[in-house]
Amino acid sequence: MALKIVKGSIDRMFDKNLQDLVRGIRNHKEDEAKYISTCIDEIKQELKQDNIAVKANAVCKLTYLQMLGYDVSWAAFNIVEVMSSSKFTYKRIGYLAASQCFHESTDVIMLTTNQIRKDLSSPNQYDTGVALTGLSCFVTPDLARDLANDIMTLMSHTKPYIRKKAVLIMYKVFLKYPESLRPAFPRLKEKLEDPDPGVQSAAVNVICELARRNPKNYLSLAPLFFKLMTSSTNNWVLIKIIKLFGALTPLEPRLGKKLIEPLTNLIHRALDLLYGMVSKKNLMEIVKKLMLHVDKAEGTTYRDELLTKIIDICSQSNYQYITNFEWYISILVELTRLEGTRHGHLIASQMLDVAIRVKAIRIFAVAQMATLLDNAHLLTGNMQRNGICEVLYAAAWICGEFSEHLENPMQTLEAMLRPKVATLPGHIQAVYVQNAAKLFSTVLKSQEGSTEGTAAQETSQLMIDRLPLFVQSANLEVQERASCILQLVKYIQKLQQKEVEVAEEVSALFAGELNPVAPKAQKKVPVPEGLDLDAWINEPPSESESEDEQPKAIFAKEEPKHSRSRHTEVDEKELARRREARKQEQANNPFYIKASPSSQKVYQESPGVEHIPVVQIDLTVPLKVPGLPMSDQYLKLEEERRQKERADKKKKEKKKRKEKRSGRGRRHDSGPESEEDITPAHMVDIVTEEMPEEYHLNIEPQKSLIFERSQK
């Protein structure tokens, strides 16, 4: 008998522990199955021993084998034995094994009930913890029914560690044994206001999950959750609460309204993130998603926000992320369909910006703008300042300035001169009129060359017919331009009737390109030699008799000071006299613009025509132009490069597209290339931070999982 004990003990000395087992398996790669069956036999021997340490070791090894895929359910009873050990280490191993392989049809599960109950009331919180964790994996309806009360008491345990686990496990218990919900519910509600944040989030979690299954019963908790949502900074909790509200709002419409404010804040935070997120490749997709949101959004403020954001992210860093400007223009045109927006000027300025600075895109832009003008009646509904009608401002200007790209200038010209235009805001009408003139010159050019001589005269007649409406406008600017151009056209018609070719001269009016001007450009213009900007051009009226306007108006340095000091000594009478003199000068000056609409008499002489400056009104539109003309060339180059790539790609993909065309479905109004994958000008490396760049198949297991990352 003693010999048996000794022999057994010696065997024990050679027992494998977990490490040995693992090492052994790794060393026996070829005959793994055989090795493992030997090990299992050893384990069976070990389990027959009385020593709990040995048993625990065996169970630990069994757990490992179970993970490898071997069935260990035959050892269920032994696992229960180990679970009932008083030592924490062994207990832990037992519960782990149980959670891995126990399930509803395990017979011995009933034996665990009392053991678990004992552990739940153990003074050691980790015993309780381990029991709860293990139970959550293999809880059955019977176990749930028997242990529900104990777990409920635990929800009010002194230690938050236990409370948290108890709250979480209640969810599992509810699932298996729904009747336990009713008595437990008040306690659960209390936990929502538990001082410990861990317990609180656990409670939120459980209630959220329950509510998703059965929202009606939890509607009364909505105010409490609302408070939590606004006060919590824990993002995980916030997400759960928002999900919960998503389930509750269909039942309670008032809730939806109340939620708008905090949700908008959250969405703003998310939108702000977009700035950093944007890159060349994903810009189009992001904007596409945002456009979907814009379509779905109901509130106009939210839509406006989205609109601003879209334009901001597209235009940031000087449009660095846009690979396809045609797509951008089409996005802008789509945005014009938004009703009630207050950012019309933003869209308008973007269109102008892009059309001016990206030469290659002009043809496309002009075509789109022409369509816009034709359909202007859709946009004229909204007359407010900065409403969407601002876009027409941009449309008209672009069509006028780049009219050489227009397919049908005559049609656009007629669209611009429609009577309905007079209902637009004044500054837009002014642009219309001015650009109608530009278009007129283009039309003339094309018509005069043709055989039909009357066409040109008809065009002039059209202008003469339509312009008087604008001449009578209440807006000063419109009046001015209209009357100026009307006179010009009348004169041209006279010339035409005399069979004189006027097209060339008319187009000279609008010759030259208008480039964007940097805001600081003026300062950088060097003052020419010999010009003193501070000097008086004319002597003050009391001093000089003659108008001395020689270019060498260099006054000695002392004189300006003198005249200035003299100026300050003048008294009231002098001022009155000077005012009179000024008024008289202005009356005689043919170029001075007075307040009364009698300026028609002024523009009679044709030589005056060449001196009329073509001025661009952009007082209301802040053109975002940080760059100097250099960026233009860059953009041009990029565009050309991309177009080349696209052309090459197109040839390859033409066949594929033809096959896929049937399955394309609905497309946006955008140009033909808006949905193609545009390769950016240079390859963008997508860096996945965790992965090391080597991609060997047999990466050493010793390689650290988190490579360079420090704790985040």
């Binding site: 000794v6 057994g8 003990s9 024990r12 000395m13 977990l18 009385d50 340490a53 040995v54 630990c60 757990t63 490992y64 993970m67 490898l68 895929g69 924490f88 280490t89 832990r92 191993i93 782990l96 891995q100 392989c101 126990f102 399930h103 509803e104 050691n124 980790y126 709860l132 964790t133 959550s136 994996c137 560690y161 979480l168 496990i169 969810y171 599992k172 861990g198 989030s201 979690n205 459980v206 999950e209 995980w236 909790v237 997400i239 997508i686 996945t688 965790e690 992965m691 090391p692 991609y695 198949l697 990466i699 297991p701 010793q702 390689k703 650290s704 999982l705 988190i706 704790q711 985040k712």
Partner: protein, 158 residues
């Protein structure tokens, strides 16, 4: 709710499996085999989310280990990605620059960490500090248990 979490190597060796619903062994084996096949066949640039049976699978590769979770339809996949990452961070903090070998040889510790972090398929504690503290304390408890005993006692002779 998370249904289960699997960790497996690129060679198809299972390193950890945690099931949050009681399932029969046969079914577990089948699911594991199925999933491993699907996930290992995916190329690096493919999406981390896929649909499988009636669940969503979220997986991420860290060095040579694939961390694969199955969540229910209504759960948020991005949160699950974060959960996976949080778990890896916990392992990293505990083992100190964790690698696959650590998990192979100390798999029960990995399970214990997971049990402190997730329970019943839901997040138990979002604070890394408190999870690690709880594990440290349980470890201390274990060490107290293993107070110096003589070899003979261990063998059951004394």
């Amino acid at each position: 709710m998370m249904r289960f979490m699997l960790l497996f190597s690129r060679q198809g060796k299972l390193r950890l499996q945690k099931w949050y619903t009681a399932t029969a062994e046969r079914d577990k084996k089948k699911m594991v085999r199925d999933l491993m096949q699907i996930v290992l066949a995916r190329k690096p640039k493919m999406c981390s989310f896929l649909e499988w049976r009636d669940l969503k699978i979220v997986y991420k590769r860290y060095a040579s280990l694939y961390f694969c979770c199955a969540v229910e339809e209504q759960d948020n996949e991005l949160i699950t990605l974060e959960v996976i990452h949080r778990f890896v961070e916990l392992l990293d903090k505990y083992f100190g620059s964790v690698c696959e070998l650590d998990i192979i040889f100390n798999f029960e510790k990995a399970y214990f960490i997971l049990d402190e972090f997730l329970m019943g398929g839901e997040i138990q504690d979002t604070s890394k500090k408190s999870v690690l503290k709880a594990i440290e304390q349980s470890d201390l408890l274990q060490e107290e248990d293993e107070s110096p005993r003589s070899v003979l006692e261990e063998m059951g002779l004394a």
